[in-house]
């Protein structure tokens, strides 16, 4: 069946059963590679997208339950027009393997919409559900601070 969703400002009619998690629609139907499959359990944050201004785990939300526009990392910025968070991640060299990084960037962008100048504690709290195995945490936290500074 066909389900209409809006992703990164564009409407799509996707063929998927209503219970299909949003993640598989984004990746396999819309070929958006930013959101990643990490756990399918909303435990790691690799699949994070923005829905209604909030960081949302796309691996557990059924596509039929998505009633608002979705923003993925691809919708935040491009190399020509990077989001401040993306620019800051590059400036801080805040990644190693980078598999978690799309989720980190999206979660950080959502945080900065709510708190323009987050404290360290707010950054840690906002990103605590996003796991990084390479140990890039210090750089990621610095990048979020830097992005907040640039936006200010």
């Amino acid at each position: 069946m066909s389900i209409r969703i809006t992703v990164n400002g564009k409407e799509h009619d996707v063929r998927a059963t209503p219970d299909t998690p949003l993640l598989y629609v984004l990746r396999d139907e819309l070929e958006l590679d930013g959101p990643k499959f990490g756990c399918g359990l909303a435990q790691c944050g690799a699949c994070t997208v923005i829905v209604k201004g909030r960081a949302t785990r796309s691996c557990v939300i059924p596509v039929a339950a998505v009633d608002s526009p979705v923003t993925t990392v691809e919708g935040l910025g491009t190399p020509a027009h990077p989001h401040p968070v993306q620019r800051a991640f590059i400036a801080e060299q805040a990644a190693q393997c980078g598999y978690c990084i799309s989720g980190m960037v999206v979660a950080a962008a959502a945080l900065l919409e709510q708190h323009h100048a987050p404290t360290d504690a707010q950054i840690h709290q906002a990103l605590d559900g996003n796991l990084c195995r390479c140990g890039s945490h210090l750089r990621i936290a610095r990048a979020v601070k830097r992005a907040a500074g640039e936006r200010a």
Binding site: D33, G38, V73, Q96, G98, I123, D128, C134, G135, L138
Partner: protein
């Protein structure tokens, strides 16, 4: 035959084993007198049959782009950037004009595994030599072009100029798209490190923009025309035989095919979500299998049959060590690699040929294993590397590739398999559980170690597939003969570099134990250094000496080690005194600091660490507040990239030290998600301060994993300093710490 799987299950019985001695550490050529590719290199990290001609390593196109065929792959450590820096300097081209091709068995030199922190220390050497030779080849072309002697020519920024004249030609014009077919002479000189312009600079990583914009070409993102999605269903309990599959149970799912072969079971579907649903809904019955019950990990490890014994070092006489010697036993649990992205493999097996896309650390080894699995000749199988989620050793990548290969062969179409989270946690080869016992005594001065005896119990830290199929999970499930056992890595850093007159270290090589295990960051160096450096602190305490002074006294012959310790003491403002000198047992929070040192693999990078911890005496919660790390890996190629590696090692190793242990019962692994196998989070992360010691005229030593080894002992020593309790089993979870404090 069934024996293969029974061996996997760690039962007794007719196992097929062979023993080989792990290859010795490769000799380190100096950067000013490099070895050419004709110098013998040995597997696993060196590779074989390396190209003798420049065009086997490098190509230069008409646009001036230099393509490097590097036999080491980008695992997320920044290696592609680092090798590009080395080539840019040696060839005198701009950094931006150097590209690294993805490794491919069809045209990449076989440089063995990307492992052991050896990608720059050994892997870069033939590439650098090829770049130096390429520059000479271009100079020869220019000499002909300009009609002058090569001695009048200069190279810079991808162009040749005639000294003192305006005449100039670019490399691209001179080479004109031709292959640089020229034998690499071992006598060809490489640059003096003083002339490096790009090496030594913190060049931003070339892979990061794609990773930050969501466009990076991870294996997990690949799509092949006509590709189907596969999922695997594993035996439950572990080692069980498949008895029946109820195909009707998934009748409502469109286009699903079931693939079964002995205990290998998978589903293939047109869409990923359909494949996942089929995997979950398919009714399957299994019989047999299971593991022996374990109540005491140390006893369980010791119960695994020992296959051989070897002295790592045996000098002087340790027989005088008696009951009055200081003795301790250290235990390390099974740990999982914990890749954030579960392993993925894509295979297209049709018409007697196979193409496999994998994030393996060894494309040539995996190719031969998969060729055997598919009953195809090596020449019919092409293995292409595509970066995946960080692996930190032998995670599920090779096995996922084999899964995809079997499924693709069965359905005759390209198949992508990604494991689910519980499969990665449950079935990746585990970092081995190990036991180390130490016994030692001080000399008459009570200030120096007179004798030290160590015993290390470990399975092999490498069960990577190498031609035979028995080390592939899919291979075990289809009952191929067991793979031969090659003992690797349990002895890594089993021996310390301290001067000890009477010293014996015995390696007890165990069969693959309860859980199938293989290479995880640092191999046995992680477990052994935890034991060694904790015990050094126990000995220092017995000597009533400061941990730093006690170590220095045993490193008096190693100026580099002493330099490192001095730099660390300065960075961490270390005030040397006997540990646990003033423990306040009434305070809720006790603070302390601990120190550790290693020369990784006895001959590689020097690393030392100071950990500052706060221990909550009520909850047992340990908070690492700061890590100070001094690091000397010879010539530094990219300082910021190196810092990134050191930070990552430190944080990951802290996670392993405080939180991580694979739980299992008789059915198999039970810690199958991030709640039951927690890892470090942002709120846990300490400050990490690093001092790098650059030695431009010393050989490059590896940096990919050395720091991992010093973290656990530094934290354990700091906990002892704070509380007076000595923790000898990882992880230092709150329940363990609280129990130790109660019984103190």
């Amino acid at each position: 035959m069934r024996l293969a799987r029974r061996d996997f299950l760690a039962r007794t019985g007719g196992i097929v084993v062979a023993f080989t001695i792990p290859s010795a550490a490769l000799a380190q050529p100096s950067p000013t007198k490099p070895a050419g590719p004709s110098v013998p290199e040995t597997n696993p990290v060196g590779g074989t049959g390396l190209p003798s001609s420049v065009d086997g390593w490098l190509a230069l196109d008409r646009a001036g782009i230099v393509t490097v065929r590097f036999g080491k792959v980008e695992l997320g450590t920044g290696i592609a950037t680092a090798i590009s820096q080395i080539v840019a300097d040696e060839l005198d081209v701009p950094f931006a004009s150097v590209k690294v091709a993805e490794a491919d068995t069809s045209d990449t030199p076989d440089q063995g595994y990307t492992a052991g922190s050896a990608s720059l220390s050994t892997g870069a050497i033939p590439v650098r030599q090829a770049a130096a030779e390429a520059r000479l080849a271009i100079l020869d072309l220019a000499a002909t072009h300009f009609g002058v002697g090569a001695d009048r020519l200069e190279t810079a920024a991808g162009a040749v100029t005639v000294r003192g004249e305006n005449r100039r030609a670019t490399y691209a014009e001179l080479v004109d798209g031709q292959a640089l077919h020229r034998t690499i002479a071992t006598a060809t000189k490489v640059k003096d490190p003083d002339d490096y312009r790009v090496v030594g600079k913190s060049i931003p990583r070339v892979d990061l923009p794609g990773k930050v914009f969501g466009s990076y070409a991870y294996l997990q993102n690949m799509r092949i025309p006509g590709m189907l999605h596969g999922r695997v269903i594993r035996p439950s309990p572990i080692g069980a035989m498949l008895t029946s599959v109820d195909e009707a149970s998934i009748a409502g799912l469109p286009g699903v095919r079931i693939v079964k072969r002995d205990a290998f079971l998978g589903v293939v579907a047109p869409s990923e979500w359909t494949a996942i649903q089929a995997m979950r809904r398919l009714k399957v019955t299994w019989t047999g299998g299971g593991l022996a019950p374990v109540t005491d990990l140390a006893a369980a490890i010791r119960s695994v049959p020992m296959l051989s014994e070897k002295a790592v070092i045996d000098t002087g006489d340790v027989s005088a060590l008696g009951a009055d010697a200081l003795s301790a036993t250290y235990i390390w649990p099974y740990q999982t690699h914990g890749s954030i992205g579960p392993s993925c493999g894509i295979a297209d097996v049709r018409d007697g040929k196979a193409t496999i896309w994998s994030s393996t650390q060894g494309i040539f080894f995996l190719r031969s294993a998969i060729a055997t699995l598919l009953a195809l000749p090596n020449s019919a199988v092409r293995l292409k590397y595509v970066e995946g989620s960080g692996c930190y050793g032998h995670n599920g990548s090779d096995d996922a590739a084999a899964d995809a290969a079997l499924l693709s062969q069965a359905v005759g179409a390209p198949v992508r398999v990604q494991w689910m989270r519980d499969q990665e946690h449950g079935w990746d080869p585990k970092g081995p559980a190990m036991i180390v016992t130490h016994s030692a005594a001080l000399d008459a001065t009570q200030q120096r170690i007179s004798a030290w005896r160590s015993d290390v119990w470990s399975p092999s830290h490498s069960t990577r597939p190498q031609g035979d199929v028995g080390n592939l999970l899919a291979g075990k499930l289809i009952d191929v003969p067991a793979a031969k056992v090659t003992f690797v890595g349990g002895d890594r850093d089993a021996k310390v570099n301290y001067q000890i007159p009477n010293y014996r270290v015995t390696m007890h090589n165990l069969r693959d134990g309860f859980l199938h295990s293989s290479a995880m960051r640092g191999l046995g160096g992680t477990q052994n250094t935890f034991a060694n450096e904790s015990f050094m602190d126990e000995l220092a305490a017995a000597a009533k000496a400061g941990p730093l002074a006690f170590r220095r006294a045993h490193l008096a012959n190693d100026a580099r080690a002493l330099d490192l310790l001095a730099a660390l003491a300065k960075l961490g403002a270390w005030q040397d005194r006997p540990a646990a000198a003033s423990v306040d047992r009434t305070a809720v929070t006790s603070r302390g600091r601990g120190l550790s040192f290693v020369r990784y693999e006895n001959t590689e990078a020097y690393v030392a660490c100071i950990a500052d911890v706060a221990v909550n005496r009520k909850s047992g919660q340990v908070r690492v507040e700061r890590l100070a790390i001094a690091h000397d890996c010879g010539l530094i190629v990219n300082p910021n990239g190196l810092r990134n590696q050191i930070e990552g090692n430190a944080i990951q190793a802290m996670s392993r030290t405080l939180k991580e242990r694979v739980a299992f019962n008789t059915s198999g692994v039970t810690s199958l998600d991030w709640h039951s196998y927690p890892i470090v989070r942002f709120s846990d992360v300490p400050d990490v301060n690093i001092v790098l010691i650059d030695r431009p005229h010393e050989p490059i030593l590896g940096a990919g994993e050395a720091t991992t080894t010093v973290i656990a002992p530094a934290i354990g020593n700091a906990i002892h300093d704070a509380t007076g309790i000595r923790l000898r089993e990882v992880p230092f979870t709150p329940d363990r710490v609280a129990a130790a404090l109660r019984s103190a």
